[in-house]
Structures are given as structure tokens and as C-alpha cells.
Symmetry: C2
Subunit: 211 residues, 2 copies
DNA sequence: AAATATACTTAACACCGTTAAGTTTCCAAA
DNA sequence: TTTGGAAACTTAACGGTGTTAAGTATATTT
């Protein structure tokens, strides 16, 4: 069955080409610039051909969204070398902010746009959001570790993780959706966000050595 | 000059009619359903007529966004009868979450969509976001009052306000953009958000009577 | 060689925001 | 009262969007 194997491989190649083209358009001018017709133009097929490889545009955006998580992982590789979970927690927040502000287009796909989540509905039967689950999981684990080592006060790990994630997400999303522009001077924005983050970690710190 | 006065009045009436129609479409199926053509259909004018009363669609969305802030104000009228600023702060958060979850379409206009902010660029020369400024201002004042009365630890009011706002905004926006659906059981979502909020206020509380 | 399955395209549907040019309506001055 | 011009409004179009039904080649199997 070498022939059907080769065919399968070719199919995957075109899938790849579609995603590459989408990514190129996406990186150049953000996701608003990703249209089925432009993708088709770039790979030199007709627009309808794209639909033979992907159900709809949402499915393509979902794949880009996944690549966003890969890119985020690049930011956090050295995180697991940090032994002190409270220090790690601080670094996690810092990296999250950094990734979001440096890759606003990816960030929107991952945490703001509805489209990728809509693709999820039809994609997996189980309908689980693996990327999100993993990311939140790592935060939970770190917070749990902080509690186990009495570095922060004990409490509902799920609720606290959600709250902390919400805070950094809130900062990034308000920033990239232009809600801070008119309220905070441009050059003070990032420092102020970091200040807010360290403030939270400070009130959290149960060790007593607050600065 | 009674005649030109009447003309001006009529002009305002059509402006009003356009906004009413937009609002109707918006309330029925969210902002995705608000299109220049549908607005025109509803007021029984041609699509281009709308452009004689509003520069573009962003300007209409900006006006709806302002109405959103009015609606939010309805949620918070009894806030200023609360004397204890820490209690008021808690209620503020609670109301914010409630408003956001009960009026997702408005919330998106106010704090997520870029369009209204783009209208702002061309609208005011000073380019200030009054609604946002006021809202954040009230939060700042309450936090300042908490600090003045030694209810919470002193710190940078601006950074702390931004952080707290970011947290509740993060919660609402993650929720209405379907990022919690796959991570938290639907019926536990709101309780968990409130739990996160009270947790924050608890670690903040400097009075020692933590529950 | 004929039938069938695969890959791909053409043409269209139903939308969208926006603009240029043309038409009608109305008011004021001659 | 007629006429000129401004104001109000419309038609038609441009260039885009996601998506689907139907048609055409190409390649594979019978």
C-alpha cells in the first residue's frame, strides 16, 4: 500500500502548507488578515480547496492557537529549574505578561477570540481544551506546592489559581485591547503591571519577609 | 430662527432612531448582529443615510458602549451608601462580576472590543476615555479610603487598582470568551469566581479578623 | 476501455463597511 | 411666484468576507 501511503503524505503536506500560509499572513498583520481567500492565494489553490483540508476557518484558527501555546512554552522552559515555588510563581506571572505583550496576536487567539473555542466544540468529542488545561494545571501545581511548603496561606487551590490567572490575563487583555492607553501613560504601563503583580505576591507571602 | 431649530431637532431625532435601532439589534443577538445595513433597514432609510449622522460604524458602537456604562451604573447605585470602604470594595467586585456575566454583549463593547476605542481616537481631540476613567477612579478612591483607614496595607494605589480591576475583568472576560467552560464545571463557575474575589479581599484585609 | 473515486475549480449566495455620484425635497432670495 | 441652491436622501458600485452546490479534470480500479 505504498501508493495510498504517499497520497496520505501528500495530503498532510498540503495541510501543512495551508497552516504555514495562515501563519505567515497571521504573523504579518494579525488574525484579521487571515482570510480563506488569502490563504488560498498564497498556496496557489482555489479558496474552496482549503475546505477539503479544514472544516472551516475556525479549525485553522484553532491550529494557529495551538502554535501559540507552543510559542508560550518557549518563554517558560527555564521555569521548572526554579525550586522555590513562590519564586517560580512570580516568574510565571512575569513570563505570562511578557509573552502576552510581545505576542498580542497569538494572545488574542489563545485567550480572547471565540473562534478557536468554537472549533473545539466540533473537533473533540470529549471537547476538552488540552492546552488551556495544561497551562492552568502548571499554575495550580505551583500554588499547591507553595501551600504545602507554607509559603502562602492555604486555601481553595482551584479558586486561587483561577483568580491569579484572571489577574494576569486581565492585565494583558486590557492592555492589548487599548483600555490602559487612556488611563496610564504608555511608558508606565508595563512597570505598573509588574508592580501590581509583585504587590499580589507580596500580600500572598506568608513568610513574613515582606519588602 | 424657529425653522432651523426644528431642523436641528429632527436631526437629533434620526440620530436617536439610529442608536435605538442599533441597540435593538444589539440586544437581540449581540454586536455581531449590528450592521450598517440592518440598522438602515430597521429605520427604513438607505444604508448610506446612516453615514450622514455617524462617521462610521465604530462611532455607533462607541455610543452603545457608553450606554453600557449607564447600564453598569444601575448595578452600582447603592454602592455609595456603604460607609466601610472595604465592604464597599467587596460589593464593587461582586457587582462588576454580576454585570459582566449578565450583560456579556455590553461587557464586550465596554472592555473587550477594539472598535469603541478606535472611535475615541477620532472623536475627542484630547482622546480621553471618560467612562473608563470614571469607573477606575471610583475603584481608586475606595482603595485609597481603605488605606487611609488602615483597612488594607498601604501601597501604590494606581498599581493596586489596576491589579484588582484586572482580576475581575480577567474573570469576566475569560468566562464570556468560553475559556472557563472546559476547565470548570458550569455550575461551579460563578461560585468559584466569587470565591477567588473574597480570597483576594481576605489576604488584603489588614485588620486581622480573617475568616 | 469503461466506470469510479479523488482532487480541484467555477460560479454563486448572502453578507459586510464604505464611497462617489445622482436625485429629490425644501427653503430663501429675486 | 418663480428660481437657485443647499440639504437630505438614494442608487450603484467597489472590494472585500465565509461558505456551498455543482461541474470538470485527473488518476485509479475494475
Amino acid at each position: 500500500m505504498g501508493i495510498s501511503e504517499r497520497k496520505e503524505k501528500q495530503k498532510q503536506e498540503i495541510r501543512r502548507a495551508i497552516l504555514d500560509a495562515s501563519m505567515k499572513l497571521f504573523m504579518e498583520q494579525g488574525f484579521e488578515n487571515v482570510s480563506m481567500r488569502k490563504i488560498a492565494d498564497l498556496i496557489e489553490y482555489s479558496p474552496t480547496t482549503v475546505y477539503l483540508y479544514f472544516k472551516d476557518k475556525n479549525e485553522i484558527l484553532f491550529n494557529l492557537h495551538e502554535m501559540g501555546f507552543q510559542k508560550m512554552a518557549e518563554y517558560t522552559t527555564d521555569l521548572w529549574t526554579i525550586k522555590n515555588p513562590l519564586v517560580r510563581l512570580a516568574k510565571m506571572g512575569e513570563y505570562y505578561l511578557q509573552f502576552g505583550l510581545e505576542n498580542p496576536a497569538f494572545y488574542e487567539l489563545m485567550f480572547i477570540l471565540k473562534a478557536p473555542m468554537e472549533a473545539l466544540e466540533g473537533l473533540n468529542e470529549k471537547c476538552e481544551w488540552r492546552s488551556g488545561d495544561q497551562t492552568l494545571g502548571r499554575l495550580k501545581d505551583t500554588i499547591q506546592e507553595c501551600m504545602d511548603k507554607n509559603l502562602i496561606e492555604k486555601g481553595d487551590v482551584n479558586a486561587i489559581s483561577l483568580a491569579i490567572w484572571s489577574m494576569v490575563h486581565g492585565m494583558v487583555s486590557l492592555a492589548i485591547r487599548d483600555r490602559f492607553d487612556k488611563l496610564v501613560p504608555r511608558d508606565q504601563m508595563v512597570p505598573m503591571m509588574n508592580k501590581g503583580l509583585t504587590w499580589l505576591l507580596n500580600v500572598l507571602d506568608a513568610s513574613g519577609n515582606k519588602t
